[in-house]
Assembly symmetry: C3
Homo-oligomer: 337 residues x 3
């Protein structure tokens, strides 16, 4: 497991250039890292989204403050002004934050099948197992103890943390991040009950899992491969810890799924959907473009949820306005009752 290394200080004017921010004040200040307002000390860059927090930020020991368009002409500290300060801060962090010290080497304790094709700049950590016919693209790293099944294809600049398991045949795009302990491509939960014996027999789970570019999967999440066809996670989708995605699920692009949510077999989630934590989505549900599902809500089998920007809540999920009205009516009756 690689150590985290600091990249060394950078002048504020260089940061401004890298994130396309407008500089106010002394650009020669040295910035070492990003930080929260609460913990900031000299060398730190902090950010403020809301003008009301600016005085607190200026009182901190940080060396510079990244602010929104509201600016601050007479600031006691140098400022970086941006239209989207949180976004700019995240980008500045990428240039400043400590990163894994990848040395693009294959640790001698790793077991790499001779037929595997690894690009030159691939980091394979301690005790990794890489199966037959695996392909891994340039700039990718595989965390200690991970097991990469036969014929898995991993694109460029992916980062797999330790103890990840990837089942045979799974395909990952570029810049995919997998947190520790996640399982990708496991057998789906499909059985057929024999009417004569009452016993369950396994339905074939021989499909594939495909994960597109820029996806992140949280720690100990599990994504099943398709039964006969493909489970797909679309470009830019972010999945939190302990999420379950069943076989044949189709998730679109730029979808956000918070922790402990579960998607049953053959569910479809279209682009730009936002799903809270502990949501339950039953089989063959369709969540259409841009809908928002509140935490713990539940969508029964075969339902369609439609409404860009509309929040749904409860089990069975309904528009939040209706749900809140129901809760209010019920509370009123109980008080009377």
């Amino acid at each position: 497991m690689a150590a985290m290394v600091y990249k060394g200080a950078m002048q504020l004017k260089k940061v401004a250039e890298l994130i396309h921010a407008r500089l106010i004040g002394n650009g020669d200040v040295e910035i070492e890292q990003v930080c929260s307002i609460e913990s900031a000390s000299a060398g730190d860059l902090i950010f403020v989204e809301d003008k009301d927090n600016l005085p607190r930020a200026l009182k901190s020991s940080a060396s510079a403050v990244l602010v929104g368009d509201f600016g601050a002409a007479d600031s006691s500290k140098p400022l970086l002004v941006c239209a989207q300060p949180r976004l700019a801060f995240a980008r500045a962090a990428r240039h400043l934050a400590p990163t894994s010290d990848h040395r693009y080497a294959i640790h001698p304790s790793a077991i790499v099948h001779p037929s595997a094709r690894l690009a030159k700049e691939v980091q394979v950590d301690e005790r990794v197992v890489i199966g037959e016919g695996v392909q891994i693209g340039s700039g990718s790293s595989i965390g200690a103890g991970s097991v990469i099944g036969a014929k898995v294809i991993i694109g460029n600049d992916c980062e797999l943390h330790p103890n990840v398991t990837i089942y045979p045949g799974t395909r990952l795009g570029n810049r995919v991040v997998i947190q520790a302990g996640a399982v990708l491509g496991s057998d789906g939960f499909g059985y057929v009950r024999d009417k004569e014996t009452g016993h369950y027999e396994k339905f074939p789970q021989i499909g594939r899992l495909e994960i597109e570019d820029d996806v992140e999967i949280g720690a100990n999440s599990t994504i099943d491969r398709g039964a006969l066809d493909v489970t797909r996670i679309g470009r830019g989708t972010k999945i939190d810890n302990l999420v379950h995605v069943g076989h044949n699920v189709q998730i679109g692009e730029d979808v956000v799924i918070a922790a402990q949510t579960g998607l049953s077999g053959s569910a479809v989630v279209q682009n730009n959907v936002v799903i809270g934590g502990q949501v339950g989505i039953a089989d063959h549900v369709r969540i259409e473009e841009g809908a928002i599902l509140g935490a713990q809500s539940g969508i029964p089998s075969n339902k369609i949820i439609r409404g860009k920007g509309i929040v749904f809540w409860g089990t069975p999920a309904r528009p939040i306005r209706e749900y809140l009205k129901e809760l209010a009516v019920l509370a009123r009756l109980a008080k009377r009752g």
Copy 2:
């Protein structure tokens, strides 16, 4: 990690024989694999449960179709006719689907305690750790990176996927399948609060976990051993991903438990129960023979759920008919209100 290998083509009449199906049409057609209707091409066997889907199946490029008793006298493709087409398809798949290329070898990187007794035909993959006094039966395979604690007993023809952890003393029957990352036999969640200090102290968690024949456990699920006695998972029970089973739980035979469901300590689930996803079962609950628990429902401590074939839903769970009536009344009141 073993590669997946195709078993090679088989004549349709041979498939018919293996799954006891009635053949209509040309039995010399070569079948390579099972497939979905959507993706079928030459060499594929597909299936149809519902007569309405038959025209679509016949229009596909599949080489043969497995159908129900409704048959189809004038079919453009050879047919296999069965009473339970989905079941027959699952069985055909077992003869045709690619399977792990087990070579019944112990990988040199595995660490096997000298006192462990492994049958001759056991596959132990890369980096597996097998503890003192472990017994593993013929035909079983242990996935890369798995850790098998001391005195664990594993029966015949079991399949453990990578990175599984089994605590000491756990017993598995025959044909048990464990998906990647599952933890079997972990310490239960039992503490005693010292009334004087207010601190929690650990109650002994020194019992055992027993898993009977033909059980399947999903990826990253966790099954605690008994505190003093035994946690038991009965024959033929199927457990999905990220399920939690607490200490002392007793699960009967042919039970189905969907993803992310949790069973607290000492819960009892009798035979043939079906439990949806994200269901919460509190401690000392008893779910009696054949009851069905809808997704996300919750059963409070010490409750008994009784009713073969009856669906329960909500928290606290009640017969679904009641629950739906309540939801309808509430929605009506809110609209008025």
Copy 3:
């Protein structure tokens, strides 16, 4: 993975001394282990909390019974009398129960970075990976296949079970127990959406995770480190399996969190809170001192839950008395309706 070893028999009077119990009857009886009433045989110590269970205990084959202050003058078996019998039983178990046979050795298959500082009495099991600059205190053990990231600090007498992953920079106090497969210090779920492209970009997740003394974390649970600052789990807190703790969460002392509960980013849980299974706590929630959250309840963003010893239930969580009243009113209306 170390084998479990029995510590050998101990005279009952010795047990009485160790747990400060009053002995009634023959103190020379040899005790081998603790046991449940149901499974007890000669050599076993059992316990009874409720006087009504005493006759059953006395009829068992156990060699001695640990009882509450209610005592039993004319007992057929020797007794140990204690104010808190369950607690005393737990403590007796610690002296009697089988424990891992730690030999304080570093297994030759472990990979320990030369810069790591391990106390003399540290047990490092098979295939463990220990990164740069790690410190591990005396009496701690690291289970097979675990990966300990750079600069992690682990105190004394900690027990890590197999296949645990700890991200760089995480700090554990003394006597911390981590069940198998848990992930400590993973990246939090924080992204910024670019208003122009609609794509999510990662907010820096470069903070730390600190776990204080006497904490236990369940199997396959995931605890994220802080985004910029620290996620903290307070002294004596016990966390069950498959629990998710998001970035920046602050959990106090002696908190109990049952399985599959999730805490979103920046939630605060004060001392002595009890949280049931599958509870969902949204971001920036504060659960104040001593509150009790019923299983599956949900706390929406930014809410404060206040009330020492008060049980809250439902989503959104409300005092259980209110919630039960609402359920009763609704059931009545539905029956009429």
